[in-house]
Amino acid sequence: MDLSFEWIIKIIETNWPMFLRGAGVTLLIALIGTIFGALIGLLAGIIRTIPIPERGAKRGFLKFINIILSIYIEFFRGTPMIVQAMVIFYGSAAAFGWQMNPIIAGVVIVAINTGAYMAEIVRGGIISVDAGQYEAAQAIGMNHVQTMTHVVMPQVIRNILPATGNQFIINIKDTAVLSVISVTELFFQTKTVAGNNFRYFEAFFIVCIIYFILTYAVTLILRYFERKLDGPDNYTVVGSHAQMDAGEHKGIGQ
């Protein structure tokens, strides 16, 4: 019974519910954390691109908010998530006497981190939609909100989608650090399994494969969605000569 391969089979047979539960918790925290993080990033990015008026009370207020946002972004990008997890989890207990649910604490930490990264990506995404399209929308009589919702933001969301997917994959892997605050995610479960039968290599080999399956599946799903969003590469010409022309008008770009 010393062959690793047999141990791997045995560990899977006896512990699969724990791996499954761990994978579930990991995916849940990564997914919800990424979604909230993207929303935080979207909001922060939008605020940071509002043109600052030349004078008035709004100017001071906007400047103040921008400083707060800069501090948030720089601070969370500049410290390790594992340390933030400890500070938030034990800090909230010491300061306010809160005993945070570890999973909720995990989601909060992932979301705040993702938000700090996404804020800059969103800002870049907004700037990359050229001013001409904004003006064209204004010229047909759209107001600021209409222009943002029907012209600018759909393009921003399309532009930031790859980065968001990337962040989701990073989050699936990085939730492993949450084991320090006893979140029962995949890494934490694996440590328990390994500790039970002292088969560290085999247990972590299995979890390695599980992590890869999770991230690779997410990659494939995201790629599919991106292609769907972009629509077909070539368009159909409607009307009389459709069949003849369709071939000539292959999409360029891409």
Partner: protein
């Protein structure tokens, strides 16, 4: 003659750089007015002031008997009565050809999708792009993009259509197709205000030509008067320079 837009004593400065000085002029219903002049003379700025993409520093813009520069005036309501075609097309990249012509009608004019699509198709047919409704802007040539941009503006059924050098960003072989559409529109009696460097075109389609120089209207008159019997020294010089280039 019914005046659509009447501009009085209009001025515009960027910081202390005075770009437009004491501009007086009006556009009448059904008229095609071309604005010519050398680079930097303020043609684009004037056009952008007319639809308030730039805020004029002084003067009045009278539309329907009201000064739309009054603080109480609704800018968006005024803008939807004016169409604008840009040098860089500025199509909405998140919409296909039909969507570009439909979104403004639905959101601004509150038309139903069905009605908006009907109107859009009508004008896409006018510019010869009705068979490309499904195409995305990135899949079109420059000339095709500009024709869609014209259809988008027409779909809002504006009182006046403004053009800012609509063919300047096009490859030479595509200039013709856009000018042809514009000529056809001029013949239908659409009111148009066109900034252009295409002198032959201006000569042919305009009812009136405005020559701008250093932020003022230096000369104004019929195409025959401006191109064949210019009175101003600066007009003569400009025409000599540009016509030699061609």
């Amino acid at each position: 003659m019914e005046t659509v837009i009447d501009i009085q004593r209009l001025s515009k400065s960027f910081g202390n750089h005075e770009v437009l000085k004491d501009i007086h002029f009006s556009v009448n219903k059904g008229e095609v007015v071309c604005i010519i002049g050398s680079s930097g003379s303020g043609k684009s700025t004037l056009l952008r002031c007319v639809n308030l993409l730039e805020k004029p520093s002084g003067g009045k813009i009278i539309y329907n008997g009201e000064n739309i520069l009054d603080d109480k005036h609704d800018i968006h309501a005024y803008r939807r009565r004016l169409g604008m075609v840009f040098q860089q097309f500025n199509l909405f990249n998140n919409h296909n050809v039909l969507g570009n012509c439909v979104v403004g009608q639905m959101k601004v004019l509150k038309r139903s999708r069905e009605e908006a699509e009907k109107v859009a198709l009508k004008y896409l047919k006018v510019v010869g792009m009705d068979r490309f409704v499904n195409a995305k802007p990135r899949q079109l040539s420059g000339g095709q993009k500009q024709r869609v941009a014209i259809a988008r503006a027409l779909s809002m059924e504006p009182d006046v259509l403004l053009f800012d050098e609509p063919t300047s960003a096009l490859d030479p072989e595509m200039v013709g197709e856009v000018l042809k559409v514009m000529k056809e529109l001029a013949e239908t009696g659409l009111t148009m205000l066109i900034v252009t460097h295409e002198m032959e075109f201006a000569k042919e389609v305009s009812d009136r030509v405005v020559f701008m120089d250093k932020g003022v209207i230096a000369e104004e008159g019929s195409p025959d008067q401006i191109f064949n019997h210019p009175t101003g020294e600066r007009t003569r010089e400009f025409l000599k320079r540009t016509l030699r280039e061609i």
